[in-house]
């Protein structure tokens, strides 16, 4: 059994984002200011702004798998296969019963249920026309299960429901399982197919939290004074995680080491964030990583561009990083890709990982007039920032019902 403190490293990345289907493309667009939001026809609602991924599902799936499975399944399989290829692992030789698949999801099953209700509406709501695929498509473990089928993984494969904190949770849980010795190799991260359910659009609209803008590319604008809500997006990002000694034994490229994390709950409201609990979450992650706030070089914010949520996260960040952190840069990835829900945390971390190599912090774009209440020191606005050092990245992801996750990764030092 490995030690509970075994060092855990990231050795591969596979992703699809609204502005890129590989880490290289994603990063290139984050540094070039290329957003990935477009208009999409949403059932019952007409054109809405959404972050749409354009990967080719048939790269790693048969047509029948795509037809029978779900969009979340296709996203997961694409990301998993790309991450494995990136990791360089000799997949044929990996014992499949020692592989774990841990996928964060915000929700699952709404898309497929809506589709079936729409389908039977064409048959006078006669339920004998309801698909026999409904149950395998809507079980909460669906995307992880489809991935296990595609890869022949016989180890534990399941999802972690954690609202929009879920992307980080996939990595956190994988690290825990590697340290427990439950698995020797993990595929983990988060996925979302949310743009294919009208319900999430209608729900945010009813909350007055759905972004609008005449220019789709400018619609997602955290910290801007005129921000008016969330751009809903799909996406996925999976990592290969290994214990350091295993990664070193096979000579793997190491992107980063998991330095610390924390997960807590607000216990205060269904939808409103709680900056006190967010602050506690950030501080606890720092403590686990044995780092001080001034040791963090990039803080990637969760901010979704809701008028109140951004201010509250800024309050939490200011409490930790507001003073004495001259080398801490702060950015936001949703300004490019909208809110990828279950994939958000994992994707946003990935977008910043190359900073270890290029010593550049991608900016928060679409900030024409910075909200004074969001004017954090170190906020990188509209243009990339070249910095002297990037040794640590802190990634926040928060979700409804008050779940908070903070993940810290560090430059790998043998």
């Amino acid at each position: 059994m490995p030690p509970a403190t075994a060092r855990i490293v990231i050795t591969g990345v596979g992703l699809t984002a609204p502005n890129g289907d590989s880490l290289a493309e994603f990063r290139r667009h984050l540094l070039a200011g290329v957003a990935g939001v477009e208009r999409m026809e949403i059932r019952y609602m007409g054109p809405q702004l959404a972050g749409v991924c354009h990967f080719d599902p048939l790269r790693h799936q048969k047509k029948k798998e795509v037809r029978v499975g779900t969009r979340a399944g296709s996203i997961s399989i694409y990301c998993a296969r790309e991450a494995l290829a990136d990791s360089g692992v000799a997949w044929d030789t990996v014992p499949k019963d020692r592989v774990g698949i841990y996928l964060g999801i915000t929700e699952h099953g709404n898309v497929e249920t809506e589709n079936e209700i729409y389908n039977i509406s064409k048959f006078n709501y006669d339920t004998k026309f309801w698909s026999h695929y409904h149950n395998p498509r809507t079980v909460a473990n669906n995307p992880a299960g489809e991935t296990s089928l595609n890869l022949g993984v016989t180890g534990p494969a399941y999802t972690i429901g954690a609202a929009c904190a879920a992307g980080n949770m996939g990595l956190v849980h994988a690290a825990q399982m590697l340290r427990l010795g439950e698995v020797d190799f993990a595929l983990c991260g988060g996925v979302s197919e949310s743009i294919h359910t009208f319900g999430i659009f209608a729900g945010f609209k009813s909350q007055n939290a759905l972004a609008t803008h005449e220019d789709p590319k400018k619609a997602s604008r955290p910290f801007d004074l005129a921000r008016n809500g969330i751009v809903i997006s799909e996406g996925g990002c999976l990592y290969t995680l290994e214990r350091l000694e295993d990664a070193q034994r096979r000579g793997a490229k190491i992107y980063a080491e998991l330095a610390g994390y924390h997960v807590n709950s607000d216990a205060s409201d269904y939808v409103l964030p709680n900056p006190v609990r967010q602050t506690e979450c950030i501080r606890a992650a720092l403590a686990r990583a044995r780092l001080a706030p001034r040791d963090i070089h990039i803080v990637n914010t969760h901010a979704t561009a809701t008028p109140l949520g951004d201010i509250q996260e800024c309050e939490a960040i200011r409490a930790v990083f507001g003073e004495g952190c001259p080398d801490t840069a702060i950015n936001n990835t949703k300004s490019f890709i909208g809110h990828c829900m279950g994939a958000a945390g994992a994707l946003e971390l990935a977008g910043n990982l190359p900073s270890f190599d290029d010593l550049t912090v991608h900016p928060t774009i679409n900030v024409d007039n910075l909200d004074p209440q969001c004017a954090l020191p170190g906020l990188v606005l509209n243009s990339p920032l070249r910095v002297a050092r990037v040794d640590t990245i802190l990634n926040n992801s928060f979700g409804m019902l008050g779940i908070n996750s903070t993940l810290i990764v560090s430059r790998f030092v043998p």
Partner: protein
């Protein structure tokens, strides 16, 4: 509807539910499962599509009648005729 037309109805459905399969040489007298990658869920698809597209019901007790194109045509043709098709 002739039996040939009935075989084509079933083949058209299979083309949609098993899009990776080459259907150019399907032998009508051989079990579909023995020549194509079809599982039990696929046969439920055939039953569902017959219901949706043609208004034809295949009770569970009769599923075996859909084993091959020939047996499907034997079984389904009278149903199509009864519907005036």
């Amino acid at each position: 509807m002739t039996k040939d037309e009935c075989r084509q109805v079933v083949l058209d459905i299979i083309a949609d539910i098993a899009p990776d399969e080459d259907l150019s040489n399907v032998k009508p007298d051989v079990r579909l499962r023995d020549q194509l990658q079809l599982d039990s869920m696929d046969f439920l698809d055939i039953v569902m599509e017959l219901r949706k597209r043609h208004g034809i019901e295949v009770p569970e007790a009769d599923y075996l009648q859909l084993a091959s194109l020939d047996s499907s045509a034997e079984y389904l043709t009278p149903k199509f005729v009864a519907l005036g098709k």
